[in-house]
């Protein structure tokens, strides 16, 4: 309660309230996340439940168009699933993969970058060479090899169940060097500053200096790339789905929906690809706009008074 009151009186909250872009983007972001979490409650159909799906319903246009049905607000996809419900479930999958992958690569990259930058010397050289090697391997190859091995070892059925955590790990592992490098570069600049020496004179241990003193001063670029990375992770996931390495058709993400609909755009079923596309763009844009505002407000030197 006290923390909430302090938060309400803070500059952060004040500038948030006054910035229409921040307000709008955060509201939409919150709305989309809520909707995706509540998808099983909100969605009129359950796209995962094959018993409710009828192939005879396939490619029905949105309800306001000729041939549209009241049951399917945004029409149906090629398998006869209600597009609106499938999009809600797909958004949930995309959000979980996007945020999960960014958390994974962020934590890994921050720990590596902070250690490399602060400890320096051989540890730094070793960790940065590892990052370089990781960077030079395209994530598609990592993904292809991982999922091929996985499917061979555990079978396709298991793969479908574990596709989501696997995608999080694959996308996370392929992108962590970005965080590591960004953090290391900031740490190298920060650790020479006298406040770090002051902390050492106090006698604080290196871990505390790294995480309490240096890390908060390196988070601004981390936040900025995080927003781009969420978008990137969602895109990567879509690309992997396109190659058949991502989410299976039975549990589609926004990416696999777009891809599935793309094949039918020229036969006139544009809605299968357009609506998930709009949702994906809205989600990405909102995340980036909000991240942009965060960057401005979290940097004390940019206070606009």
């Amino acid at each position: 309660m006290k923390a909430w009151r302090r938060f309400r009186g803070s500059y952060f909250f004040y500038s948030f309230r006054r910035d229409p872009v921040a307000l709008a983007s955060f509201s939409i972001f919150l709305f989309l996340v809520l909707v995706s979490i509540l998808a099983p409650v909100i969605a009129p159909h359950n796209p995962y439940d094959t018993s409710t799906i009828d192939v005879m319903d396939a490619e029905i246009p949105p309800s306001w168009m000729n041939g549209g049905e009241e049951r399917f607000w945004l029409g149906t996809d090629i398998q006869g699933r209600d597009l609106y419900s499938t999009m809600l479930y797909g958004l949930r999958t995309s959000v979980v993969i996007g945020i999960g992958a960014v958390l994974f690569q962020g934590i890994l990259g921050i720990v590596v970058g902070l250690t490399a930058g602060y400890v320096g010397g051989r540890v730094d050289s070793f960790l940065m060479r590892v990052a370089d090697i990781q960077f030079s391997i395209p994530y598609l190859i990592v993904a292809i090899i991982t999922s091929a091995v996985f499917q061979l070892a555990f079978g396709v059925g298991r793969f479908e169940q574990l596709a989501m955590p696997l995608l999080i790990v694959i996308i996370g592992i392929s992108e962590w060097p970005k965080y590591a490098r960004t953090v290391r570069a900031s740490v190298l600049g920060e650790k020479q500053k006298e406040y770090v020496e002051a902390a050492r004179v106090i006698g604080l241990n290196p871990a505390r200096i790294m995480y309490r003193h240096i890390l908060p001063n390196t988070l601004t670029p981390v936040l900025v790339i995080s927003t781009i990375q969420v978008a990137q992770a969602v895109m990567s996931e879509a690309a992997l789905s396109f190659l058949g390495l991502g989410m299976p058709v039975t549990k589609p993400s926004l990416g696999s929906l777009i891809k599935a609909g793309f094949e039918y755009v020229f036969s006139g079923s544009w809605w299968i690809t357009l609506f998930p596309g709009i949702l994906l763009v809205t989600f990405t844009l909102v995340v980036i706009l909000f991240g942009d505002w965060l960057r401005d407000v979290l940097n004390p030197k940019l206070y606009k008074g």
Partner: protein, 339 residues
């Protein structure tokens, strides 16, 4: 009261060199048809010995790059010395582990030069000041810590109601007061001040110096004061140590060193102070440049620029010898009684 002449901290033959030769590939050179590995070291502090007495302000003066700041950081334990000893009270502290060093961390603190870099920009003043005291007294309650913060803030002349603000909301002088407050939070007895006023306006300099001197009177502090500003030295010091190329030239009580400098370098340095009503400049002009600390001259480090230098100065390194109870001079000519 402890006896004012017992040393609080002694430095014995302190040496600090920095290896700047880079990676193995940078070190390799081709010399006379053979591949050789060559290391480059900056000899920042060379065989410096002196004692700091309880309650005094020992100023260390010298030109830019002479190793003053390195000396300060080595004494406080930010850099491990290559050779030599640092003795605090009767305990050698330069070889202690971080854990063994902790009790000394509360007794020694440091004030930094740049008030814009020495405070963590993402921590409020209250958090910056609370951290050392809570770290060293984990059992202290939040209220007690806050009270201590308010006390010390009042003492350094910053209104405690600004405690929730961030450093960027303060001016340079106020930040330096906060920086001093952070050093005072753990109630130290010894403070290393690394050019604490050189980044400030002249008018603010006087305020900060007076604050430091008041704190010394109230708390019985001992200062190691690093500066290149000779007027500051005269204002604040008990004794003055003059450093040239990482070597101690002369150490003497402040009044003596200004009225009767003994070492030729000290004479040249002090002659550079402009005086009111001076008709002709008494300035002793030194020839040449300060040699690089990567390759020190043989013998006395000052021999290439000293007008009294002779063959002995070029070969034999002068040892700092006591001259009276409070003074040291490292000069062959002075030792021979010719100066």
């Amino acid at each position: 009261m402890p006896n004012s002449s017992t040393p609080l901290l002694s430095i014995r033959h302190l040496v600090k060199h920095f290896d700047i030769s880079g990676s193995l590939l940078d070190q390799l050179t081709w010399e006379k048809g053979r591949l050789r590995r060559r290391r480059t070291t900056v000899k920042a502090v060379n065989d410096v010995s002196f004692e700091i007495r309880r309650g005094e302000t020992l100023s260390v003066v010298g030109e830019s790059g002479c190793g003053k700041s390195t000396l300060a950081r080595t004494v406080i334990g930010l850099y491990p010395p290559n050779r030599g000893k640092i003795i605090y009270g009767d305990q050698r502290i330069d070889n202690l582990s971080a854990r063994q060093m902790l009790p000394y961390r509360r007794r020694m603190q440091m004030i930094f030069q740049d008030p814009y870099a020495s405070l963590n920009p993402r921590m409020t003043v209250a958090r910056t000041l609370e951290e050392p005291v809570v770290f060293h007294n984990p059992s202290m309650s939040g209220a007690a810590a806050a009270e201590k913060v308010a006390d010390v803030m009042r003492q350094v002349g910053v209104d405690p109601k600004w405690a929730d603000r961030y450093p960027h909301e303060f001016s340079g002088g106020q930040r330096q007061r906060i920086s001093i407050a952070r050093a005072l939070m753990v109630d130290p007895e010894f403070i290393v001040a690394d050019e604490p006023v050189s980044a400030l306006d002249v008018s603010i300099q006087a305020q900060i110096l007076n604050l430091l001197m008041d704190a010394q009177d109230q708390r019985g502090l001992t200062y190691l004061f690093i500066t290149h500003d000779l007027s500051v030295v005269r204002h604040i010091s008990t004794r003055v140590a003059v450093i040239y190329l990482g070597t101690l030239c002369e150490l003497a009580p402040a009044a003596d060193i200004f009225s009767r400098p003994r070492h030729p370098y000290t004479q040249a340095l002090l002659s550079a102070i402009p005086r009111l009503g001076e008709q002709r400049s008494q300035h002793i002009r030194l020839k040449g440049e300060v040699p690089t600390p990567i390759q020190l001259p043989t013998g006395c480090v000052f021999n290439g620029r000293c007008r009294y230098a002779d063959a002995r100065c070029r070969e034999e390194v002068p040892v700092a010898t006591p001259l009276g109870p409070d003074a040291l001079v490292a000069c062959h000519r002075v030792a021979e009684g010719k100066l």
